[in-house]
Amino acid sequence: MNQLEVYEELAVEGVNSDSQSEASPAVVFEKVSKTFLGSSTQSVVLEEISFTVAVGEFICLVGASGCGKSTLLNLVAGLEEPTTGTVSRPGGKVALLFQDAALLPWLTAGENVELALRLRGVKRVRRRSEAERLLTLVHLEGLHSSPIHELSGGMRQRVALARALAQEPRILLMDEPFGALDAITRDVLHEELIRIWRATGLTIIFVTHNVREAVRLGQRVKLMASRPGRVIGDWTVDIRGERRIESPAVAELAIEITDELRREIRSHASGRE
């Protein structure tokens, strides 16, 4: 199977058409709050978060440290429970990508993908070819038996993406997945991610503290305030044509959002001790 066939196959499965994405919700947050109890204090990590992510939508969450972005993803992934409110995901199965590619170092690249297939219940005879198909999708054909430690950071993150796709998710959660990569690699992975999103019709919630990255990738960007974490801004990215990190239109919107973010950060200045 060559690459184009892989794309076509995925594109047929995809539901990334505009009419549908506006119709049905994939993830719904309803008055979600999350409080962590410390030894003497309790900290409110998320406060009354309410918003909806549509099926097939690519949404980016930006905010400074302590805005609870990662907690929000953990709630969607079911790794944590909200203190109050509800998180529902009518969109279907969820996969999560971490900042660290979090590949299991005792397995090869392909075996990492196969483990996800196996835990999903895919029969042994199909696993190998399925893993190779997914590695081909992220442009890592022929690297099934590569040890993880021989791969570059960008390659590891792509293996992690292939492993996430092996779970056949309908919703992909990404927790600063490119934060540790160099700028050149990150730039390429942005294009890669958009390509895969288009091909698969996945719903993507992408968390980052890099405003430009958010504008470069998302259809929508949500700005979160810190301590307690809450949503304070929502932008629809309406940039036509090719979008790149250097595009003036991307920069323009990024400046607007960054100004808002800085205003929010300044409001915490009095809290410094």
């Binding site: 060559n2 690459q3 184009l4 992934a77 790794l79 996969a95 999560l96 971490f98 660290d100 979090a102 299991l104 170092p105 005792w106 397995l107 483990l115 996800a116 196996r118 835990l119 999903r120 081909t136 442009h139 890592l140 054909e141 022929g142 690297l143 590569s146 040890p147 993880i148 430690h149 021989e150 791969l151 570059s152 950071g153 960008g154 390659m155 792509r158 492993r163 779970q167 050149i184 690699t185 390429v188 294009e191 890669e192 390509r195």
Partner: protein
């Protein structure tokens, strides 16, 4: 990185860009493995050979300088003769064989019990709190201290020897497993959950492979302790009914004030202990570390 079958589609700039980045960023095929391995073998073996040769030379010089009489300091040649005598009498193989058999049985029994104990400590918090410190403490108790107790319990028998060997090795193995599991990075557990592993699958696909290096370190230490404990037990629990063994060889040498026999026994004990390590543990450990990219030369 370019596989011969699938070329990046014409016009697919991302793919070729990635291929370029990948070949710049990955380390696969950067060195020729074969020459490295031969080179490595030579550089590791040659220095130790030179060291042994120098040691033998120094020893021989001391012998000929007559600082001590030869019944206190025999020459390497005397050791060789004593080894040849043992071989001719048929004592050598039965002594090595008996000790090695006891060590192997004792070690395997320790692995079984130690692994079960380790798993129980991992699994049951209350048990861990109750006897965890005791198990760690026992690790630092020289197992020779158990010899008198074992002899009182079991008499001068194989059972007494096995008891000492096991009491020496089990704490190391149980602790190794416990430490291995404790040091499993929480990130791997989260990955397991996200991938849908629960219960036994988490244990099988995430926790055990992640804990393997720690467990193996425990096994290795357990073997070293088994061997030491065995020698202590054989040396002290000395009885003709127990048959010939390396520890008994030591005791015989002492009784006869035969320094060459004593040194020969020490040499054999060292050889078997180190040999087992090199033949069995070192290759497995290297494999475990290499797959995980934890070996400096990989």
């Amino acid at each position: 990185m370019n596989s011969p079958k699938i070329n990046p589609a014409v016009g697919d700039e991302v793919a070729s860009l990635e291929a370029g980045l990948d070949s710049l960023g990955s380390t696969s095929g950067r060195h020729s493995a074969k020459t490295t391995r031969v080179h490595k073998a030579i550089t590791t073996i040659v220095p130790s050979f030179i060291a042994i040769a120098l040691l033998l030379l120094l020893w021989t010089l001391l012998y000929y300088s007559k600082i001590k009489p030869s019944y206190l300091l025999p020459s390497p040649i005397d050791i060789w003769h004593s080894l040849a005598t043992l071989l001719n009498q048929g004592v050598l193989w039965s002594a090595v064989g008996n000790s090695l058999r006891r060590a192997a049985i004792g070690f395997l029994a320790s692995v079984t019990v130690g692994t079960i104990l380790g798993f129980s400590l991992v699994r049951f918090r209350l048990l861990r709190m109750a006897i965890g410190p005791l198990v760690s403490g026992l690790q630092s108790l020289p197992s020779v201290a158990w010899v008198p107790a074992a002899i009182i319990w079991f008499g001068l028998s194989d059972a007494a020897i096995y008891a000492v060997v096991m009491l020496g090795a089990i704490p190391s193995i149980a602790n190794g497993l416990l430490a291995g599991v404790r040091h499993v990075p929480p990130l791997y557990l989260r990955v397991g959950r996200v991938l849908g592993a629960r219960g036994f699958n988490t244990l099988r696909f995430i926790i055990f492979p992640a804990a393997l290096p720690g467990y193996f370190a425990g096994l290795r230490q357990g073997w070293a302790f088994s061997w030491r404990s065995l020698m202590a037990a054989e040396l002290i629990a000395f009885s003709p009914s127990l048959g010939i063994s390396l520890g008994q060889l030591l005791q015989t040498g002492r009784d006869l004030s035969d320094m060459s026999l004593v040194l020969t026994a020490i040499f054999l004990i060292l050889l078997v202990g180190v040999g087992f390590e090199l033949i069995f543990f070192t290759p497995i450990e290297r494999k475990i570390l290499r797959t995980r990219g934890l070996l400096a030369d990989s």
